[in-house]
């Protein structure tokens, strides 16, 4: 273990351990403690009150709803991102590829807030889309469901997280030897057959990695729901925030723990199924 690699990795490992892992453990432990109304804090006494509270007041449906939105967002991102990644990797010249990649990263440069707000200008009653639809005469009245709806939330989420799916996809496509696609063609397969039988199976690690990135971030997002969702719309992070405001720490920690377990479970299953780690190894088929 006394290799230079180990020493180089040590600071990062410590940071991940201290700032990432330790707080998670703390949350896990505290979620089983008892809330003390006298101190507005918790005391180390075992209690499942936090977990019981999850089942109340429609909290489960918020969790499931959030995971549902995250799932839909991730699926749409993969569906849009896959052709985009193919365009960058297979079709574009080096120059165009760089330009496209730069375009894909633009969402990173603006704040979540501004990005979500800009969608209001596009989707609102007086927004670009409604204006155009009425100009063209497709509708008489502005469409209300465009903004402050699940539709708007999903649009905002997809727009925010699309780049996260494109980069792992490009990475996985770079791992596919061009001769494999040529070999498929040589053996009589047309584009779709090659796509289905060779390209898709060989990029499944990238597909799952991209899906997972988007899923995790969308499941934890708050801004898009607050800015674009309807009055009743909620998201896990918004709910945790609300619970924290009334200082019900065990409940907040219990929700966090449940979501964490779901996400880790997803990663574990995904890795077993799709060999996610291969994406980050040398080419070792």
């Amino acid at each position: 273990m006394k290799s230079p690699g180990f020493l180089l990795a040590l600071p990062t490992a410590l940071i991940v351990l201290l700032l990432g892992f330790v707080p998670l453990i703390v949350i896990l432990v505290w979620s089983f403690w008892t809330w003390d109304p006298a101190t507005y804090w918790i005391r180390p006494e075992f209690s499942l009150a936090g977990y019981e509270a999850i089942l109340e007041a429609g909290r489960w449906s918020v969790i499931l709803g959030s995971l549902g939105k995250a799932f839909l967002t991730a699926t749409i991102c993969v569906a849009i991102g896959y052709p985009a990644a193919m365009a960058v990797h297979f079709l574009a010249s080096r120059r165009t590829a760089l330009l496209l990649m730069a375009l894909f990263t633009i969402p990173f440069f603006t704040s979540y807030m501004i990005r979500a707000f800009s969608w209001r200008l596009v989707l609102g009653r007086n927004g670009l889309i409604n204006g155009w639809l009425m100009d063209v005469g497709i509708v008489d009245q502005p469409l209300d469901w465009l903004l402050f709806s699940n539709f708007a939330v999903n649009v905002g989420l997809v727009a925010s997280y699309l780049p996260f799916v494109i980069f792992p996809l490009i990475l996985s496509m770079q791992r596919v030897e061009p001769s494999l696609l040529a070999a498929s063609q040589d053996l009589g397969a047309g584009f779709w057959r090659t796509f289905r039988s060779v390209l898709l199976p060989l990029t499944q690690a990238g597909i799952f990695a991209g899906f997972l990135f988007v899923f995790v971030m969308a499941a934890g997002s708050a801004t898009e729901v607050q800015m674009l969702g309807g009055a009743a719309a909620s998201m896990i992070s918004v709910m945790i925030n609300d619970v924290m405001r009334v200082v019900n720490f065990p409940l907040a920690f219990a929700i966090s723990t449940v979501v964490m377990i779901i996400l880790f479970g997803l990663i574990y299953i995904g890795n077993r199924l799709f060999k996610l780690t291969r994406l980050f190894e040398g080419f070792t088929w």
């Binding site: 030897e177 001769s179 070999a183 063609q185 053996l187 009589g188």
Partner: protein
């Protein structure tokens, strides 16, 4: 059924680079034909055009007289063994071999039968369930061959398939190619930079250089009548002598080198500008008396042990260098470096060749 190939005046340019320039070639049905050349000679580009992975900028590709220039690879009756083999890493040996048949819609029972018999043909019977990633280099090679051969292609294209194998395995696979060519009767087109491979396998071969074909013929032709000094070098006659002049005398050619006359009995006439390609195995060293007209004076510059023979490095009176391969049992009596000898040239030791078209060719 074996299919014939015709390349009709094909040019392929990439930007300003001419990968192929005005190439014309006819490959007979059932022939084992080799495209021999160094990297950048255009041989792989030509193979891609035959396989349908690329289109010529101008010119046509014909299979059995039919124009297939615009036919994509998946519709051509040709199959390829790729340089990196390109085995599908997510499929078993059997699935790799069955892939083309599946795409074609062949029923499972028929498919399995053909996969099994083709695997047996390449000595991989019982390997169908194996993971392709865990096979040895030679076995992977055989899977790639089986995957192409199971399609019963009219044309089998082999793109440098032996690179990356060790010498023993190369030899083995080379024999395998010959055997499979006999068995299948398909037209085989091999691309290689290895002249041994080309010479031992080909019915006919073409030497390519800078996007053009320097010579086409049976392997023996390249030694007896190399088209120019580039070809001579490429087939292993690495020393080329530049005579003061070449003359015709009766049916023979007379070369004047370093002030001495040398008669080359029956040698062809290649004009006054001709060069002489040297076959080092046809030169012997003589002490004292040597027949006039078939020998030259030289100095021993050095010698190297090469196993079955010694490689003598020699220098003529005018400074030109050549080599002679002298069998080990004769070599011990010969002079140490720095001493003079006479070189005796057997028939065919010096082959008159015209200079190749561009001076740049001589660099290679």
């Amino acid at each position: 059924m074996a299919i014939s190939i015709a390349i009709d005046n094909v040019t392929r340019t990439f930007g300003t680079v001419k990968a192929l320039e005005g190439v014309g070639l006819k490959i007979e049905a059932g022939e084992f034909f080799t495209l021999l050349g160094s990297s950048g000679s255009g041989k792989s580009t030509l193979l891609k055009l035959i396989g349908g992975f690329d289109r010529p900028t101008t010119g046509r590709v014909l299979f059995d007289e039919q124009d297939v220039t615009d036919m994509p690879a998946n519709r051509r009756p040709s199959n390829t063994v790729f340089q990196d083999l390109a085995l599908f890493p997510h499929m078993s040996v059997g699935d790799n071999v069955a892939y083309g048949l599946k795409v074609k819609g062949i029923a499972a029972s028929e498919r399995n039968k053909r996969v099994d018999s083709t695997l047996a043909l390449v000595d991989l019977a019982g390997f169908a369930e194996r993971n392709v990633n865990l096979l040895s280099g030679g076995q992977r090679q055989r899977v790639a061959l089986a995957r192409a051969l199971v399609m019963e292609p009219g044309i089998l294209l082999l793109d440098e398939p032996l690179t990356g194998l060790d010498e023993r395995l190369r030899q083995q696979m080379r024999d395998e190619f010959g055997r499979l060519h006999q068995r299948t009767g398909s037209t085989f087109v091999l691309v290689t930079h290895n002249q041994d491979e080309a010479l031992s396998l080909s019915d006919r071969m073409a030497i390519m250089h800078k996007g053009t074909i320097e010579q086409v013929g049976r392997p023996a032709d390249f030694f007896a009548n190399p088209a120019n000094d580039f070809v001579a070098r490429f087939v292993g006659m690495e020393r080329i002598l530049k005579p003061e002049r070449l003359e015709r005398s009766g049916g023979d050619t007379v070369a004047v080198i370093a002030g001495e006359r040398l008669v080359l009995p029956g040698a062809r006439d290649v004009g006054e500008m001709g060069l002489l390609a040297v076959r080092p195995d046809r030169i012997s060293l003589v002490n004292g008396h040597a027949a006039p007209g078939s020998s030259l004076a030289a100095t021993v510059a050095g010698r190297q042990f090469r196993g079955r023979f010694f490689d003598f490095h020699l220098e003529l009176g005018d400074g030109q260098k050549l080599d002679a391969e002298i069998a080990v049992e004769f070599a011990s009596a010969w002079p140490e470096p720095g001493n003079p000898v006479r070189l005796e040239f057997a028939g065919g030791a010096l082959v008159p060749v015209p200079p190749s078209r561009t001076a740049a060719n001589r660099d290679t």
